[in-house]
Every structure is written in C-alpha cells, then in structure tokens.
Amino acid sequence: MTTAPPPTVSAPALPTEQVYLGHPEKKVTLYFLVTGLLMLLIGVAIGPLQALNYANIDVYQYLPFLKSYYQGLSLHGVLNALVFTTYFISGLLLYLPCRALGVRPNLVVAWAAYWTMTIGVLMAAWAVLGNNATLLYTFYPPLQGSPLFYIGAALLVVGSLIIAAQVIVIWTGWKRSHPGEITPLAAYMSVATWMMWVIASLGLVVEVVVFLIPWSLGWTKGVDPLLARTLFWYTGHAIVYFWVLPAYISWYALLPRQAGGVIASDSMARLSFVLFLLLSTPVGLHHQYSDTGLSIGWKTVQMLLTFLVVVPSMLTAFSVGASLELAAQARGGGGYFGWTRRLPWKDPVFTAQVLAMISFIPGGAGGIVNASLALDTAVHNTAWIPGHFHITVGTATTLTFFAISFWLLPHLTRKPLASVKMALWSAWLWFWGMIIFAVGMHWEGLIGIPRRTYFAGATGLSEMISRAQVPLALTGISGMVLAVAAVLYFTVIFRTLLGRTRVSAQAEVPIPFSQSLAEVEALAGNGGSPKIAGAVRVLERLWVFFALALALVMVMYLPTFISLLLNPHPVPGLRLW
C-alpha cells in the first residue's frame, strides 16, 4: 500500500519552488495533467445533455451558448477524446520514463511542447465555440470549417510529437550510457507507445497539413473526401491505442505495487507492447468497411490484423490478473476467487483501475464485433459505436487516468488527496454510469438508432424509438449518474489542487514502479539480479521493431494510397450548419 495519503500533515506549507526543486519536470507535468483535466471538465459537462437527448429530453433550446446539438457534440468529442487525452498522456509519458530512467528532461523543450499544444487548442476552441467548426470530432470533408480549427488540431499533434521525440531521444541517450542494460519496464513501454504514435500520427498530420489547411484557406479548390477519410482513419484507429496503452502501462508497471504485489511476467509485458507497436497502425481500414471505392481485399487483410490485436490484449488481461492474484496472496488471500476480497478496495487508486479493466472486457468484446466485416454492417454509425467507445476510452482510459490523478497529483504537489471517500464514490459511480450507458447505447444500436442525431427534430426515428424506449431511458439515466460522478471527481481534484497543506519531502507519495516476480525471486535466492531472458534482449531492440512496424504499415496502406492519389476526386468545401 503506497498510495493512501499520509495520515498526519504536520509540516508547514512549503513554497512552490521547493516542491519542484529536486525535480523541476514536475511542474511541466502538472501543467499538462491539469490542463487536460480542465478540458475534460468542459467536455464532460456536455455529455449528460447528449444523454438526455437520447431520452428524448431536449435541453438545447434553453442553452444560449450552444447554437446546436452538433456544436455541443463537436466540443464534447474534440475536448474529451482528442484534447484531454493528448495533454494527459503527454504529461504522464514524459514524467514516467524520465523518472524510471533517472534522466531530467530538457525543460525548454517540454514547455515548448506544452505551449505549442495550448496555442493550438485555443485556436481550435475559438473556432468551435464560434460555431465555425461544427464538424464533430471526425471533421470529414467536404464539410469545411474555419482554418483555425485545422491549424489548431495540427499544433496539438505537433506538441505531442515534440514530447515523443524528447522521450525517444532521452531513451537512446540512456541506452548509450548504459550499455547492456535492460530498460526499466515503465520506460520501455512509454518509448514503445511514443514510437507507435510517431508512426500513427502521420495520417492525421498529412491530412490536415497537406490537404485541409490549404483548402480551408482557399488555396486549393477541393479535397478528395475518400482520401481524407482514409488518412483520418489511418490515425483514427491507432489513436485508440495511444489512449489505451498509457492505461496498460499503469496496469502493468504501477498497479502491482499499488495492490501490494509484483509484476507477474516482465517479458510477456514487453512482448505485448511490441505487438501493439506492430499491430496498432496497419488496421485503420476497419473503420471504412462501408466505404465504397476501397478494395474489399485490403479491408479483409486489415481485418485479420485487427483481430490479431486481440493477442496482446489477452496477454495483458492474463498478466495483470496474475499480478493481482499474487498481490492478494501476499496479503493472505487464497482460493479460486476468494483472493479478490483481499485486495485494497478502499484505495481509490486501486479500485478505479480495476473497474477500468472490468469495463474493458465488454469493450474488447464489442470491438471484435466492430472489427468483423460481416457484423459491422449491423452496427456501423449506430448508437452502438458511442456505446462501445465510452467503455473503452471513456472508462478504461478515463477511469485509469482518474486513478493516476489520485496519486500523481499528490505526488507532484505534495498536497494530500482531499477526500479518499469522495474519490472512491466518483470511481464507482463513473463505472456504473458508463455500464448503464453502454447497455443502453449498444441495445439502441441493435435496433438501428443512429448516432449523432438531434432527436428533437428527427423525422425518421419514431418507429424505432417506439421499440427502444427502455434503452433510451437507460442512456438518459446513465447521463445523470455520470453527471454526479463527474461533480464528485472534479471536486476532489480541485480541492486537492487548491489545498493549502503540503507534506514534507519524506512523506511524498512515491512513484509506484513495481518489481517483477523474477527480480524478487533472484533477490530472495542469491541476492543478485535475475538472469535476463534472451527474449527480453531481443525485445529490447525497439528501433528494429519500429522499422518493422513502419514496413508493415507501408505494405498495408501504400497500394490504397497510391490508387487514391492516382485517381483524385476533389470536391469543393461546404458549410452546412
């Protein structure tokens, strides 16, 4: 148990400078995390209104600051899925690997990344708030928004790529000065995630910089919507791994210690991240099964690769489950399932993460349905899809980030978590809210209710709505549960951040880097370090896997892109909102 806030707070409030003195990178990390959470606050505030829309309760007519349901939905999707995640991940995956490697990052670079992102987000927010980019978070052309939106989106990604480059450079430097050593697990996984993102973000960068920005500025007359969609989904699928892998890092490398145990299998953890590096990107066509104009052959091949991502996901489930069982055994638990009772359920850091994992089980199962060419027709563009991604990014990722904020914000600021109880409540309510939400939305989807529809004005839904009364009510109710969960969560966070007491440096919440079982066994056996498995040495060569991933994605995408580029069908932009 490393995460419960220290009981007594005797030390007087220390000036900020001293809190960051030992590790000045704490401050920039804090800025990334808190800015991300502020964006989430705004994005999440709109969610319950959308849920009410599904319950056929129209509150939009009373909201002077939102011109339409779709403007609200654009804000919700962009702020939650794109902005919150990118800030939070950039902060987390800068701080963790640096601390794991014991390297201090160049702060000028880190702050430059932060401000690049922030200027971008302000530009894009200006466009969306002015109703000049009501494009939803997929911004498919030929719907055309203000150039500010596209430039802002590009800067957001560029900011994250600066951090990616920084972490990768730090790691290569560390490798050079530590020849023959194996990268600590948390750093290894962070570097693999950033390498994946470098490859994955290319599609979005090209779409926005080469096509959408010049077009929105009026420099080019048209954009090929199919090419733009294909570039978008090249990044758009992999981005879900950019959201989920940081949660996996926490589950693999931090949670075991938070539960009082060890990492069950270090080498399998590395293997699963290498598989994610290879398989996250060359699969985006599974978002375009319904698009005419793309070859069924490539869709089928990418379907196989999508299914293969099941393998590292199942490995993660196994390893993390095993780690938790080891932890429970260390605390005296036993039996087939009885051990689960011995886990630290009173600790919100632990509980929120386990609930996040549980939500990911139906999330993954639903993902297999979406990935299947045969079944996708039944769910494509229906409410099933938001049902699916609210239990993946909206819970597995978001709830894990909540858990991380419960220990990392106290760690960075040395301010104790304001209320353990309220934190626990927020996690449970978020979990149940999202489960009810998902049941409702998946069910509606199977009835055929489309996503992204302003119900109050809808003309074609009455028959379907009459068959979907129960699930639609569930969506509405879940929105209310989630609203309460969000209020509790942000109350805890802001009370913590604005708190006045700080603990002394000795009482600082530690970073819960976990030991592996092999390390513990080696220490118990001969007091030395464990024998490094050959597989780990192979997996250590991340640059080789980076190159392989790049080659694989070329094979899977180049033929499609070449044929799209050879037969361009540009059409002019339209503003239809």
């Binding site: 339409s68 030929p142 069924i296 095993a322 080891l326 045969a374 027709t377 563009n381 003309t459 037969n567």
Partner: protein, 163 residues
Amino acid sequence: MLDHHTIERYELGWLVVAVVMVLLMFAGVIASMITETVPGMFGSPARYINPTQLSQTEFAAPGLKVSPDGSVNAYMVARAFQFQPSVLRVPANTPVTLHFIAADVIHGLMLGQGNVNAELIPGHVATFTRTFKSPGTFVSQCNEYCGSGHQTMSFTLIVEAPK
C-alpha cells in the same frame, strides 16, 4: 506461490489460445462472406460519377426503373438534407439493385432489412443487389452527420407484397 517460470508457461499457453481464437474468428467471417450469409461482400463494382454532372446520368431522374428484361434498378441521390426519392417502393421477393450516390457532402444510410449500411461519399456509387423478403414499411434516416438538418433526412423503404 508460483514462481515466474511457471507463470510464464501458463501465459504462453494462454497466448496459443488467443492465437487460435483469432484464427477461428477470421475463418468464421471469411466463411460468412463466401457463403453470402452476409450478402454482397463481393462484386459491388467501384464506380465514380462527378457529383456536379448527375444530370447526364441515370441519377438525373431518381427512382425505381424496371427494364424491359424485367430487372429492377433503383437510383437514389442523397443531398443536404433529403434523399431523392425519399420514399422507395420495391416489390418483395424480387432481386432489386439499389444505387446510391451523394451529391454534396458525405451522407449515410442503413436500411431496415437486407443488411445495407452504406457510407455515401460524394460521387462514389454504392450498389447493392438485394431480395427483400418481408413486406412492410421501414423508416430510417441519414446516419452520417451532414450539417444542421441532418436529423430531418429520412428515407422510407416500402416492400410491397406481390398482388
């Protein structure tokens, strides 16, 4: 407590289970595509028509057309914010080929039967040959966001029983 070698052996077994599962799923989908339990996975030809020049094509007068040889084709144009025609009557138990095209921005449509769910990208003709079996009225609506009137873009498929 298990030592790490044993755990890794179990995990390797689990990995094999996962790989086998993936291959079975893949085989299942391929089988459903080949046997056409999911119709029309193959052979829908890619066709592009410049959406500003629909007046020179069969989309100039959208609707149902029965050719002299008895084959039935239906042509539908999606534009903000309506489908033309917005009501389509087709005979039951007869193969009908549906042709959809979007004229301005991306639209989308799912039908109440026949396993049709299409992303209508401007100019790219989406073609489906289906035999509708159950007579009835199936109302659905545009399922790809296309602007402020998106929710008003409904489409009604009426499958008529033979007289």
